[in-house]
């Protein structure tokens, strides 16, 4: 180690900083520098692959954790009190004792943090020490090292089923096509295989180029960079050749990559943001009430200080009971009163319920435990429970007023079934598919007529007839024009999940059933009558094929093509092989794939026909995206002009049925390609260049036909929507689909009803838009003003498309739009972009000040999910992005019903009631001390031993409210599901209202008055001593507080009984033990033998009984009348709409 000047060190650090911050990075291989010291390494500025996710280090845990904890206001309040207690003029208790609560809370939290951090440390260490292979120049081979030894610039070999240690630029794979498959399930939960292409012509030893790449970012689907060879030639590299850390290599024996990003700069680590933190509505309200408590506390302390001042001033001379401070001279009354203010704060500190925050956390953990353990929210099929990602907004589930739902995959299953198609203007209805509801997307029953037609055409073998047929082209397009990856069912995909079992099982389970079905229903020969001689590999039986598609639509189309004998056999970046019904295998050379994007709304594949040697472009896409590009009609067809119109008619018809439509087109390309592979190297303009190429290619298309794919409604969707609506929740559907499809689904799922007035808003310009809005609003106003319509509410629904929505959401029309929307029972927004979705949610949330919930399953719903108060992801077919962004993840839309109506209601009422109870409890207890101040010259004396006061809050009365918040059931689950109207209690202001809070505070005042003055009048002018006076008060306070809770508890289980009785028993045991043991242990207060002597005295029991009864009588009475009123409401048929409801309500009671 050579000595380096500090200046050099600083310079080096700065250079490193600059290198890391630079927009573009230049990386070179480490190999030439192997064995050199660190300062000579070219990539030394970039972090190593060792990761550290721990927050603390062993040495600095205590200071760092304390620093972290003191960010909480509540803890600061506590510390302030402790400091006050150490000031001799002010202290109310022994300063050491005052330390106990804060120490308990801090150490509990610290222990929790330490444990969590230790877990992180362990997992880090495990990850850092995972083995991997790094190329060593010395040994001329890959040597086994640990993950933490990987540095930027190294060459790393990964083998099949291994996890990739860092972000690698793929240079070589064992696959002859230079392809490597990876599974990104660890990153985004997607279980399909992704293909990565090796960057050609590189050998680790001879890699001498410089890799220029962008700064690390967290975009998993984007990477830009190029390799500059020594001869200044640039070769582009994109995400398609980047292996991401955390992914698993599949189907590829081994691959070698160049480390681009390591450790915390990898994309997976950058994506690893902490848990989501949202503040719930209830918590926001709670903070206001805590503020009220602070004001109350200050008022009480002011009263105390003022009272003390007046008391002192009223004294003519110094009485013997006034003890001067050590100096021997009494302070001036004003100064003493000033001190007294702070002493009072210490005395009455528990008015601010610090333990409330801890209790709320505990209760929420428990609520989440119950939600995740609900068997009704468990999905057998995918073996998944509901996931709660946000830990602290459970109670918001009980207050939802608006639900924004995605359509595809949320209301529908997103399991696409090929339903109908139209080829060259002829419609094939595929009736069997429509009848068989249990059909899977893998088995398509061919339409009889179409099948015969295909067989006839293909019987004259295609290779011999130069004449192409539209029907063949149509199915070839279905089979070719996609990005579906073919994998063999026999290929080992060693995965931990049950997946493997099924792939192996599928052969014997499904082959027979699929075939018999095909024979039975169609009466035709089996779908793939190919002679085995033509197939080179015996494994390539059609039933062994598994298609991995990026979207289910694609897979559905490929399966449909397969059903007609056009089997996609394999796909590599350069070629596609398809087996025709005749058994012939055609290998198409793929020249280019223009992938789908949301702007073009279509995708194309350019192939070279193996027989005709023509360049053929197959395109599929949304109807409007294809129709406008149509050029030459299909050759050799009579009614040329009509095909487009007829197909369009079919498409409209499909849309009305709620089918997803796609148009299929082709084009025969003759001229040379303008497409330049060099363009790929340009780091900046690549996307634009690709786009330009697409525009050039995709024109003058020939329409082949259209397909209609059914996306079936999920189970119980209409039920759920009906229930949610009865619960007073407005359901909106925001979808990217076209209005016809959306409206159809709307009717199917009960969102729209036949008698509804459906307003269809679609306008091209703003003026029409304004007019429509004004007219509709006027109509609504007139309708509501009409005396005949006072009782009946008109069911109005709005259907609006994306373009119109854009105008309606413009600032000047926004208010009118919101006003109109308020009257609508259902709103359907079609053709909306993800950004519009989130915009709509935000507008409604902010303008109407309502609680919103967004539910969706796809990446296009992420914005909306994040914008809403609660985001729910449906873990379905469309990957995990929505789930990752969500607060709760469910597997079916129907689970929303129980989640909201039952768990939401429970979580909310439980927490709201618990919080109110907590406030009540603290106020009631503290006020006992406050009333005593009027009889002790406002000198801040406590007539209850301080230890017992701490115990009272810490042990005797802490568990019952938590149990109350966890387990109380005001209404049974069956009734909540049966009578969704009950959900309305939580909406808007809900249970936790301003008045509820103050009523319980007033009740607390009343109860504390009773609890104090009953013993006071009993012991007035007697020889009672201070702590004996406090004992019956403390005891009856315990009884009152617990009995109050008993009144609030709506259902009693064994747990309730144990905890309630246990609390009482604990009080007596602990207090008796404490007052038996402590003779002089806690001067100056002295509880020795007090409770014992009190318990020998019948007066003690008489006082406790009287104060408990008198204190609780009003609440008992009010509760009774409230509940009888409640029963009356339930009885009243007008209120609930039906008599039946009453009986269902009563059922659990009887």
């Amino acid at each position: 180690m050579t000595w380096r000047s500090p200046l050099a060190l600083v310079r080096d650090a700065l250079r490193g900083q600059r290198a890391r911050e630079n927009e573009l990075r230049s990386l070179e291989s480490n190999l030439p520098y192997e064995g050199l010291e660190k300062g000579k390494q070219p990539n030394r500025y970039f972090p190593s692959n060792a990761i550290k996710t721990t927050k603390y280090s062993l040495l600095f845990f205590i200071p760092m954790n304390l620093y972290e904890q003191f960010h909480r206001l509540a803890n600061l309040y506590f510390v302030g009190l402790v400091i006050l207690n150490f000031i001799p003029e002010v202290n109310a208790f022994q300063p050491e004792i005052a330390l106990i609560p804060i120490c308990v809370i801090l150490s509990l939290t610290a222990m929790k943090d330490a444990w969590e951090d230790f877990r992180r440390y362990q997992s880090d260490r495990k990850l850092n020490n995972m083995p991997c292979f790094i190329y060593s120049r010395k040994e001329k081979q890959f040597v086994e090292r640990h993950w933490k030894d990987v540095r930027v610039g190294d060459f790393v070999k990964v083998v099949c089923n291994e996890i990739i240690p860092a972000d690698l630029l793929l240079l070589y794979t064992s696959d002859p096509n230079g392809v490597c498959h990876i599974e990104t399930a660890n990153l985004d939960g997607e279980t399909n295989l992704k293909q990565r292409t090796a960057h050609p012509e590189f050998e680790p030893e001879s890699f001498n180029g410089i890799l220029v790449c962008e700064k690390p970012n967290n975009n998993l689907n984007h990477f830009k960079g190029y390799v500059e060879k020594p001869d200044k030639q640039k070769v582009g590299a994109g995400i398609e050749s980047l292996l991401l850390r955390g992914c698993t290599v599949r189907n590829t024996d081994h691959a070698v990559g160049f480390v681009v990003y390591a450790g915390r700069e990898t994309k997976s680590m950058l994506n690893n943001s902490g848990p989501r933190y949202k503040r719930s509505k209830l918590e926001r309200r709670l903070n206001i009430d805590v503020l009220f408590c602070v004001i109350l506390l200050f008022t009480m302390c002011l009263i105390g200080a003022l009272g003390h001042y007046l008391w002192l001033n009223a004294m003519p001379v110094v009485p013997p009971y006034l003890v001067p401070p050590t100096s021997g001279q009494l302070d001036r009354p004003s100064l003493t009163s000033f001190y007294m203010f702070f002493t009072m704060i210490i005395l009455l500190q528990i008015l601010i319920p610090i333990s409330l925050y801890v209790s709320i956390e505990l209760v929420k953990i428990g609520q989440i435990f119950f939600i995740t353990n609900d068997i009704d929210l468990y999905d057998e099929e995918t073996d998944s429970r509901i996931q709660c990602k946000a830990l602290n907004i459970t109670e918001d589930l009980g207050q939802i007023e608006y639900i924004f739902s995605d359509k595809t995959g949320t209301l529908t299953e997103n399991k696409m079934v090929f339903r109908r198609c139209s080829i060259m203007g002829t419609e094939y209805p595929h009736k069997e598919n429509a009848i068989n509801l249990l059909i899977k997307e893998t088995e398509v029953v061919p339409d009889g007529k179409l099948f015969q037609k295909i067989s006839r055409t293909s019987s004259g073998s295609l290779s011999h007839s130069q004449k192409t047929d539209a029907y063949l082209d149509f199915f070839l397009a279905l089979a070719i024009c996609n990005t579906v990856v073919v994998s063999m069912a026999t290929t080992k995909r060693r995965r931990v999940s049950r997946h493997r079992t099924f792939t192996e099982d599928s052969e014997e389970n499904f082959q027979p059933s699929g075939q018999t079905e095909g024979v039975d229903t169609t009466g035709l020969q089996p779908c793939s009558p190919h002679p085995p001689s033509l197939s080179d590999e015996p494994a390539l039986t059609s039933d062994n094929l598994r298609y991995e598609a990026e979207s289910p639509d694609e897979a559905a189309l490929v399966y449909a093509a397969k059903a007609y004998g056009f089997t996609l056999l394999s796909r590599t970046p350069d070629s596609v092989s398809v087996r025709l019904p005749s058994g012939e295998v055609l290998d198409f050379e793929v020249l280019d794939t223009l992938t789908f994007d949301s702007n073009r709304k279509r995708m194309s594949v350019l192939v070279r026909h193996p027989i005709t040697k023509e360049y053929v472009l197959y395109t599929k896409g949304a109807d409007f995206a294809i129709m406008e590009l149509l050029g030459t009609p299909y050759p050799g067809n009579g009614n040329k002009k009509n095909i487009a119109t007829v197909t369009q008619r079919h498409l409209d018809c499909y849309a009305k049925e709620g089918l997803r439509t796609l148009c299929i087109a082709k084009k025969v390309q003759n001229h040379t390609l303008s497409y330049l592979p060099n363009a790929m190297a340009a780091i900046e303009n690549r996307e634009r260049l690709v786009m330009d190429t697409a525009v050039q290619l995709e024109k003058n298309l020939t329409l082949l036909g259209a397909t209609g794919i059914e996306d079936r409604l999920q189970e119980n969707v209409p039920d759920t929507i009906q229930a949610l609506r009865e619960a007073g929740i407005k359901v909106w559907v925001l979808t990217g689909d076209k209005p016809e499809t959306a409206v159809n689904i709307g009717y199917a799922c009960g969102l729209l009803e036949d008698e509804d007035l459906v307003i269809n808003m679609g306008c091209k310009d703003k003026i029409t838009c304004t007019n429509i809005l004004d007219c509709t609003l006027e109509e609504v106003r007139r309708y509501n003003a009409d005396p005949r319509n006072v009782d009946t509410t008109q069911n109005m629904s709005l259907v609006i498309d994306g373009l119109t929505l854009d105008k309606a959401l413009s600032p000047d029309l926004l208010d009118r739009f919101v006003a109109l929307v308020k009257h609508c029972r259902a709103v359907l927004c079609c053709r909306v972009t993800p950004l519009q979705k989130s915009r709509v949610v935000k507008v409604i949330r902010e303008k109407l000040k309502v609680m919103t919930l967004a539910v969706g399953d796809g990446a296009n719903d992420v914005n909306m999910i994040q914008a809403a108060d609660i985001g729910i992801g449906i873990s379905g077919q469309e990957g995990m992005q929505a789930v990752m962004a969500s607060d709760f993840a469910i597997s079916h839309f129907k689970h929303l019903k129980k989640l909201l109506l039952v768990h939401g209601h429970w979580c909310y009422t439980r927490l709201a009631n618990m919080i109110i109870y907590f406030f009540y409890k603290n106020v009631a207890y503290v006020n006992l001390l406050f009333w005593y101040q009027f009889f002790c010259g406002f000198s801040a004396t406590a007539m209850i031993d301080y230890w017992l006061m701490i115990f009272f809050n810490l042990f005797f009365t802490s568990v019952p409210p938590i149990m109350f918040g966890l387990m109380d059931k005001d209404i049974s689950a069956e009734m909540l599901l049966g009578v969704p109207e009950l959900y309305k209690t939580g909406q808007g202001e809900g249970d936790y209202r301003f008045t509820t809070f103050w009523v319980s505070i007033l009740d607390a005042f009343y109860q504390s008055l009773v609890c104090f003055f009953v013993p006071y009048f009993v012991y007035q002018d007697s020889d009672i001593d201070m702590f004996t006076f406090g004992t019956p008060m403390n005891t009856s306070a315990l009884f009152i507080i617990l009995m109050h809770l008993s009144i609030e508890i709506k259902s009693w289980t064994v747990v309730h009984w144990i905890i309630m009785l246990g609390s009482v028993a604990l009080y007596f045991i602990v207090t008796l033990a404490y007052s038996a043991v402590c003779v002089t242990c806690n001067p100056p207060s002295n509880p020795y033998w007090i409770l014992q002597s009190q318990m020998e005295d019948p007066m003690f029991y008489l006082i406790c009984i009287l104060s408990t009864v008198v204190a609780l009588l009003p609440r008992y009475r009010v509760c009774h009348s409230l509940s009888s009123v409640g029963l009356k409401i339930f009885n009243c048929p007008e209120f609930w709409g039906s008599r039946q409801c009453y009986f269902s309500l009563m059922l659990p009671f009887s």
């Binding site: 399909n192 009485p319 353990n373 979207s551 949301s598 000198s939 009672i1024 001067p1083 207060s1085 009563m1146």
Partner: protein, 381 residues
Amino acid sequence: MMASSYSAKDEDGHITVSGPGGGTLRNKKPENTAFKQQRLPAWQPILTAGTVLPAFFIIGLIFIPIGIGLYVTSNNIKEFEIDYTGDDTSSPCYNCAKNFSWNNTKSCTCTIPFQLDQPYESNVFMYYGLSNFYQNHRRYVKSRDDSQLNGNIDSLKVGASSPMASRKKKKPSKECEPYASIDNKPIAPCGAIANSMFNDTLKLFYNDPNGTSVPIPLTSTGIAWWTDKHVKFRNPVGTNSNLTAVFQGTVKPVNWHRPVYELDTDPENNGFINEDFIVWMRTAALPTFRKLYRIIQKKNNMAPTLPRGNYTLVVDYNYPVRSFEGRKRMILSTISWMGGKNPFLGIAYITVGSVCFFLGVVLLVIHHKYGNRNNSANISN
């Protein structure tokens, strides 16, 4: 939006339903237990007329007899109270009270005649009562050293001159300040409570109808809690069994006339275990309080403890209360199981019982009048 949306493609995901052995791999399925599914058998108390009305009646029926019993018991207790503060010119103690302060060493005696209209049959408890005396003031309550009173000899040691040593050797607790020591000598007992101990002497004389004045024997033991006398309060046990020697080196509290070891001649009632002292040290809860002073034991079964007639109270007036507008009283009271005379609890029980009963009746009427009209409310029972 197909491009940015990916499918969690499990083409064979649906095969699960029929796949053999699939069930064995279901590990995430929540347990179907009553607790986890929140289906524990529960009792739901519904407050309806059927449950509330009996509750009111039961409370009423239990409380009223208890209240009557308490009231009768309280009324049977005989109590006599006499104020001897002496702030009134007509009071016999006026002269004593007028010029009195803590510094007086010579005691002033006054005699107050009074008359008992009824004979006091059982044991009679003699109390002194003070008003407007805040024995519950926070600083006052703290101003004591329990360890000293518990006989800890260290708390009686002379405070060492050097601060280092003084920290090691226990002196009277700092809570006792400024009544902890005088001239570096510890005060025994230290603190403001002890310092302000009530030191009037009260004597009772029965004026026989034949003119002679008979002193009534007053028992001064048995007035403190047993646990206080035997556990909490203990005389320090030094090398010497003589109390005077043990308290050597301490000084008496400023306001006291005699040192602590001269409080009584009886060694079992002297020093820290003097019961008058113990009673005083149990600080009163409220500013107007009484403390047990003496017990007049019943002599035999025949004669009343205090017969009807004229009595004289002789007070050695030592305790000044006029400075804080306090009052001093002497109270004679018999005692029952419920302690001294207090009609409040009886009245309160009767009132609450009646209110509950009344509420019950009202509710019953309402229920009968309106409940029948929609009888469905009863279904819930």
